[in-house]
């Protein structure tokens, strides 16, 4: 961690931390538009409005060609509406580490006295909002274009499920971003988790169709639990049943955020010790 007077041989004193909220605000609003680079209006609008539609159209027509009925189409449409959250929550967030390395700002960040908790939560704010918008628009497409029925009474429960899923997914993105601190590039990591959810999280077909080992791997992803909660909400399951799934999503979110901060601290120490980890 940054200290003062170290080179002069004076006793080490903790550096003055900038305020929590200033760091939070800088990372939430300014950094995405500058160094992190994911807050571009074309990318944001494309992520919210185009990607969900195209991904849903693609898989819905695949289901249609394979002879799937209305229920299979609705299942796939809803699954893909939710899974598009990975673009904003995982890919954008995971790539922030790459952006810092590529632009040479990682070293400065690592030696700065910025509050790490504020930094992490700040970076997650916009992706959470974009994720909420992406899933909401996706679900709207599912209802308007693909015949997914959502009773009005289930909307509050659905809103909670969507919000929790967005938080959990951004936490997972931050976790991958922490791992990416050690890697040369995070693009592979982000992409793998971008696509693997389509297979393991019950997006296009029930996860129960998969071999047991793959099912267990799928349970390790927040998307699996988030999607289950959203499906349960839409199906009008009892509050008790949905609450259990919400609990699982919350656990996934807390574990992701906790591991992300832990990883960041660990690799930060290694970076300061070796002086090479922040290179691109």
């Amino acid at each position: 961690m940054a200290t003062v007077n170290a080179s002069a041989g004076a006793p080490l004193a903790p550096a003055t931390r900038t305020s929590f909220w200033r760091t939070f605000w800088t990372n939430a609003v300014i950094a995405p538009r500058t160094t992190l680079g994911f807050m571009r209006i074309d990318f944001v609008l494309g992520t919210i409005f185009i990607i969900p539609l195209m991904q849903m159209v693609f898989f819905v027509f695949v289901v249609q060609v394979s002879g799937g009925g209305a229920s299979a189409i609705a299942f796939t449409a809803l699954g893909n509406a939710v899974s598009t959250v990975t673009y904003s929550s995982i890919f954008s967030v995971c790539q922030t580490t790459d952006s810092e390395k590529q632009q040479g700002t990682m070293e400065h960040l690592l030696v700065s006295p910025a509050n790490r908790l504020a930094l992490y939560f700040g970076r997650g704010l916009l992706p959470i909002l974009i994720s909420l918008a992406t899933v909401s628009v996706g679900i709207l497409y599912a209802v308007l274009l693909f015949g997914v029925q959502i009773p009005v009474a289930t909307v509050p429960s659905l809103a909670v499920s969507v919000t929790l899923t967005a938080f959990a997914m951004v936490g997972f993105g931050l976790l991958l971003g922490g791992v990416a601190l050690y890697l040369r590039t995070s693009i592979i990591l982000g992409n793998i988790f971008l696509f693997i959810g389509l297979l393991l999280s019950g997006v296009n077909f029930p996860a129960s169709q998969l071999p047991t080992v793959l099912q267990w791997i799928g349970y390790g992803f927040p998307l699996t639990w988030g999607l289950s909660a959203i499906r349960a909400s839409v199906a009008g399951d009892s509050l008790g049943a949905v609450a259990l799934l919400w609990g699982a999503v919350v656990v996934a979110a807390v574990v992701s955020f906790g591991l992300a901060i832990g990883l960041w601290e660990y690799f930060e120490r290694r970076a300061l010790a070796t002086g090479s980890i922040a290179r691109f």
Partner: protein, 269 residues
Amino acid sequence: MATADVPAISRSRATRASLRLAVLMFMADPQWLIPSMIAPVIFGVVAFELFRGAGPYFLTYAILGAGMMSMWGQTLYGSGWAIGQDREFGTLEPTVQSPTPYVYVVLGRVLWNVVSGLMGGGIVYLVVLASAGSPPAVPDPVGFVILFLFVMLTLASVGILFSAAWVYTRYSGFIQNVGEFAFYVGTGCMFPIVLLPFWTNPIGLFFPPTWALDALRYLSIPGYVGFSWGFWPDILGAVVTTLVYVAIAGTIFKRVELHVLAKGNLSDY
């Protein structure tokens, strides 16, 4: 500066060197495994699960679709990067100034994109085959292979045109990421585009792979219902659109070289 009297040996040597460098960079930078290998395998397995039990030719559908997506993905991302890498590394102007026309350098990279996309298609084939336990039913294997190679050729023409077009835009990343599924849908990678609303069909016909893939399905899936005009018009459409793409790309590349001399700002990123 490229000149008209550049010997052919120089051009072929530039293409070979470019191809070799593309292979080495592919191995050094594993991110290219994503569009060419990882994503298509996942799409292939998902398609296999969705198509399971949907008739005797479902396996062909799944393999063709995922293989096609592999090649499309590699073309889309690889061709975007074919010039982007020169721009980012600062080698665009020196390369364009070399005696060999730039298009021959890009050709080497596009060739590798096609080959790596084909490798991805092969991996998809093996993975889906392992999932299914038996090979797909293909009525005319020889014709299938020949037409499959032709599909690759049509994709290469798209790659060259995209490479040329990306010179003039900073939005290649945006188009690649946001448009990925749009290309898969619009060219009928996994299903015939006649299933889409009619007004979308002419858009798909702008792309040579749409024609070629429709022909390939006519050949390999008995009872397939694609474009009403059938197999041979599909082939003709694919050949014509491919030639048009190559001609446009060649024109753009010539213009790029002139642009470099006139403005000197090509490498601005």
